[in-house]
């Protein structure tokens, strides 16, 4: 966990309402796939949690959708050369076991961005089957990164690109054929629920990355909790954001 006053290298629009922000952290910080950062947003009291999409040496790339005032601030105020407060790396990240050689990656919406870091880390070492869902063709981005997968299926809700339907539907069409050892997923809660139901009873471990509103981002304030199935609370920022799907209430 480090507090860095990073230098913005690039902050550009890559799809409808989606931006890619690359910063330099001055020296290399080890980051695991699925970990995230808290990005400072000017006068906004709270930082915004954004997944690390790519980490190459001291260059770190985030992809974010403009949703409200904070992400709009990010998109409008950080130009190349400026400084941005970044706290990273945060959270547990994805862990791929030795024995898990065939992995399925199922993402929807902004959930595809943390999964790109996983695909990049596993490319060439694991057999990767990716299913990435977008609203429509205009929202589609970072396809060249996802293409590091052994097989990539793009899905759109309106059928304007790739498979017509959701990423989970596309994945379920293939599941018998690909027989994954583990599934890694991130996306809206209804999507995660659909995935949970779809794979129930198959004995395949499924790891999901969750979102929750955050205060500190480091595990101290207990603002970001989720319910575990055993009745306890877990902190999404510190104990997560990645959980085994059976471990959390969705």
């Amino acid at each position: 966990m480090r507090e860095v006053n990073a230098v913005v290298l690039e902050n550009k629009r890559i799809a409808e309402n989606v931006f890619s922000l690359t910063v330099s952290t001055d020296d290399e910080i080890p980051i695991r796939p699925g970990q995230f950062a808290m990005l400072g947003a000017g006068e906004h009291v709270l930082r915004r949690p954004i997944a690390v999409c790519k980490a190459e040496g001291e260059r770190v790339t985030f992809c974010y959708q403009v949703k409200g005032a904070g992400t709009r601030y990010l998109s409008q105020n950080y130009r190349a050369g400026e400084r941005i407060p970044v706290l990273l790396p945060l959270g547990n990240g994805f862990f791929v076991g030795e024995r898990e050689t065939r992995i399925a990656v199922v993402g929807g919406g902004v959930g595809v961005f943390p999964l790109i870091s996983l695909i990049r880390a596993c490319a060439g070492r694991k057999e990767i089957f990716s299913y990435m869902g977008f609203r429509n063709k205009a929202a589609l981005c970072m396809e060249y990164e996802m293409q590091r997968s052994d097989k990539l299926t793009i899905a759109t809700d309106d059928g304007s690109a790739g498979f017509h339907g959701t990423a989970v539907q596309a994945f379920m069409q293939d599941i018998e054929e690909i027989r994954p050892d583990a599934v890694f997923s991130c996306g809206p809660v209804p999507m995660l629920r659909a995935l949970k139901n779809a794979v129930a009873g198959r004995g395949i471990p499924v790891y999901v990355s969750l979102e929750e509103r955050m205060g500190c981002g480091v595990g101290a304030c207990l603002v970001c909790v989720c319910d575990l199935t055993d009745g306890r609370h877990a902190r999404v920022c510190k104990d997560g954001p990645v959980f085994e799907i059976g471990e959390v209430e969705l």
Binding site: E3, V45, G215, G219, L222, V223
Partner: protein, 302 residues
């Protein structure tokens, strides 16, 4: 290099900067970012007799210059703190054990468990009293007197700080009630009760509907309240509410606070506390102040 140390109730802190309760856990997470032994002390997350689950999410919302929170006192309970965290934290810095109860008796029992162990007890009295229709202990002077007496009689060795709520009629009267009940020190302010509405959904953002407002936007009100409290009692006062930089801390010291707490600013910048400590040193040097304690209560009214 100014002398930043301050002495509160006979206990010396290396500087007057203390992360505020609920924003810093028991210090372990922030210690992964910087060595927290640089701090004057740490106010722990509110401790209760039994573990508490707290409120449903969302527990936080943001507005201009402020946040609202409704964590609802989630904590592992005082026993777990004593077993797993206190010794570690004491090895780093001074410990202000923030405690909360549902009844006057509960406050007494928690204080007894922490007596002689923590450096200070900080009594969070902004919690509902289940035996008097759920009104917070910290609203009326009579109930402040009662809960302070109960806590004080359970404490033989550890000084007692009573943390005042700002959601009240009269800060001077409530501060005086805490002093009369035996408080060794007062801290303020806790959060202001507020609401934030998602106008698309026509619903409050917080699952709890209302939450405590904190952050830079409350600072002028907090400074006024600290000034009022400091002039109503002869025991020391710890000031807080929106402190984000050394200059903010100086304002509180001048208003009469002997030390300060920093809450929400830890979220905006995890290094807020060490930066405030460094900034206080620079400010004192620039202004020819040899000891930071010389600033306390030096405000002159117009």
């Amino acid at each position: 290099m100014a002398d930043l140390s301050v002495t509160l109730c006979g206990v010396t802190l290396k500087n007057p900067v203390i992360p505020a309760s609920g924003t810093f856990g028991f210090g372990r997470e922030f210690d992964e970012i910087y060595d927290i032994s640089c701090l004057g002390g740490v106010a722990t997350k509110g401790l209760t007799l039994e573990p508490r689950r707290g409120n449903p999410v969302p527990r936080i919302a943001e507005r201009s210059g402020v946040i609202l929170n409704a964590v609802g006192l989630q904590n592992p309970g005082v026993e777990s703190f004593l077993e797993h965290d206190l010794a570690w934290l004491k090895g780093k810095t001074r410990v202000l054990a923030n405690v909360a109860g549902r009844t006057v008796e509960e406050y007494g029992r928690i204080c007894a468990l922490l007596d002689g162990k923590a450096d200070f007890i900080e009594l969070n009295i902004s919690c509902p009293n289940v035996k008097s229709g759920g009104m917070a202990f910290g609203i009326r002077p009579e109930s402040i007197l009662e809960v302070t007496r109960a806590a004080k009689s359970a404490l033989k060795r550890t000084p007692l700080i009573v943390k005042l709520s700002p959601n009240v009629e009269s800060i001077p009267r409530n501060a005086a009630a805490a002093e009369e009940g035996g408080a060794d020190c007062i801290s303020l302010v806790n959060t202001f009760t507020g609401m934030a509405i998602d106008i698309e959904k026509r619903r409050p953002i917080l699952a709890n509907n209302t939450g405590g407002v904190s952050g830079a936007g409350i600072k002028p009100i907090a400074v006024r309240m600290v000034y009022e409290a400091a002039h109503a009692v002869s025991i020391p006062v710890i000031g807080m509410g929106g402190i984000a930089c050394a200059e903010d801390a100086v304002e509180f010291l001048m208003a009469g606070a002997s030390a300060v707490q920093v809450g929400t600013a830890n979220f905006t910048d995890t290094l807020a506390c060490p930066k405030i400590i460094a900034g206080l040193n620079e400010w004192c040097d620039r202004h020819g102040v040899a000891r930071v304690s010389e600033l306390v209560g030096t405000l002159r009214l117009n």
